[in-house]
């Protein structure tokens, strides 16, 4: 498993890069805010660099496109997650 939030070329050189900007999400310390955004409910389409935290329903954003097996961290609810593929979509599964 790897963590695309850590910008390591070894894992992410062939992935699309995304410029993350502040989305107004204010539930984590300032330096981490660009990595999250509020989910707008059903119909809110996620980009290739985004995955929904199933615990607190916040969208986690990466600076690179995500792939199954990637590990992500949801700081608003402090949950560790693994990205998986389900019905052709990327989903996040909780790691206990």
């Amino acid at each position: 498993m790897n963590d695309p939030l850590i910008d390591s070329d070894r894992f992410t050189a062939d992935r699309q890069k995304y410029e993350l900007t502040d989305t107004g999400f204010n539930e984590v310390p300032k330096k981490y805010r660009k990595f999250y955004r509020k989910w707008k409910g059903k119909g809110d389409e996620l980009a290739d660099n985004e995955v929904l935290c199933p615990v607190c329903l916040v969208v986690i954003r990466s600076a690179r496109s995500l792939r199954p097996g990637d590990r992500v961290y949801c700081m608003p609810c402090m949950t560790r997650l693994t990205v998986a593929e389900e019905d052709g979509m990327l989903v996040a599964r909780v790691v206990y």
Partner: protein, 291 residues
């Protein structure tokens, strides 16, 4: 496990919460924000707001008693630290919702009698089921009851109330935003901490599932009572709302157009769906109160 628990520090809480989204707030909302005049000037709407806010105070008082009681039952220091921050969060919620009762015109001398008059008996029983586990210092059952069942319910209720108030009552919507942010941490702690503990104590499952079943019964009865009590208010609010009002969408339902029974249905379905999913993730089976 040590790394996972290390996130539950007072420092993290300080940076996210008081120095983050609560900075510059006044009882959870922007300084100077007030309840809308249209609501304060309408006795029906004002009484409905008081009745609803009383349920929030009752629920948060239970959460305060439970989280503070669980501090001494926690098996490790990191869980104690997290529950200490949660205790302050819950105390804040009690304070801000009590302040809202005062803002709605309840006199300080009448607070206790107002809360007694409007508190839903089923919500009181819901809290009693939880607090019985806390009193026995049953950490696993207490955290499931508090951080998954109670907080899971609160999370959905607050989200729905936020959708309703976002366009019409910015003061209350801002108050709710802060509590929703707090609830994210609380449900996260519940799932993450119990997800690992339940694997070590499978013998606890049946008792915890029975507690969830009892709490769910009282929760659904509370919803039924509450929506029945305000069905006339919902109709009056719809009749007075502007046809150009922005839709208040919650899980596909426009709350500005839905009647009380539709609101009850969407809230119950959402909360029960979340219970099933959350309990399933940590290895517990959801038991329907009808079973």
């Amino acid at each position: 496990m040590a790394d996972f628990l290390s996130g539950y520090s007072i420092q993290s809480w300080l940076e996210s919460c008081p120095q983050g989204y609560l900075e510059d707030t006044d009882y959870g909302h922007g300084a100077g924000e007030k309840e809308p005049e249209e609501m304060l000037g309408n006795d029906t709407f004002r009484e409905d707001a008081i009745r609803t806010t009383v349920q929030l105070v009752v629920g948060e008082r239970a959460a305060l008693a439970a989280s503070s009681g669980l501090v001494n039952a926690a098996p490790d220091d990191s869980s104690k630290m997290f529950l200490a921050t949660q205790t302050l969060d819950e105390a804040r919620h009690v304070e801000i919702f009590t302040q809202r009762l005062l803002d709605l015109g309840v006199r300080k001398d009448d607070l206790d009698s107002t809360i007694s008059r409007y508190a839903n008996p089923n919500l009181v029983k819901f809290a009693e089921v939880l607090l019985e586990k806390v009193d026995k210092k049953d950490f696993i059952a207490g955290v499931v009851g508090q951080n998954i069942v109670l907080e899971g319910m609160a999370f959905s209720v607050f989200e729905m109330m936020h959708a309703t108030n976002d366009g019409t009552n910015p003061k209350f919507a801002h108050t709710l935003s802060g509590t929703i942010a707090d609830e994210r941490r609380h449900v996260g702690f519940g799932e993450n901490r119990i997800g690992s503990l339940i694997k070590e104590h499978p013998e606890k499952k049946a008792e915890i599932q029975k507690m969830q079943q009892d709490m769910t019964y009282h929760m659904l009865a509370t919803f039924a009572d509450s929506f029945k009590a305000n069905s006339d208010v919902v109709e009056e609010a719809h009749s007075q709302s502007s046809p150009d009002a922005k839709a208040a969408v919650y899980h596909g339902v426009d709350l500005n157009k839905a009647d009380a029974s539709e609101m009850e249905a969407v809230l119950s379905d959402t909360v029960l769906g979340e219970f099933k999913t959350r309990l399933g993730r940590i290895g517990l089976e959801y038991l329907s109160p009808a079973a």
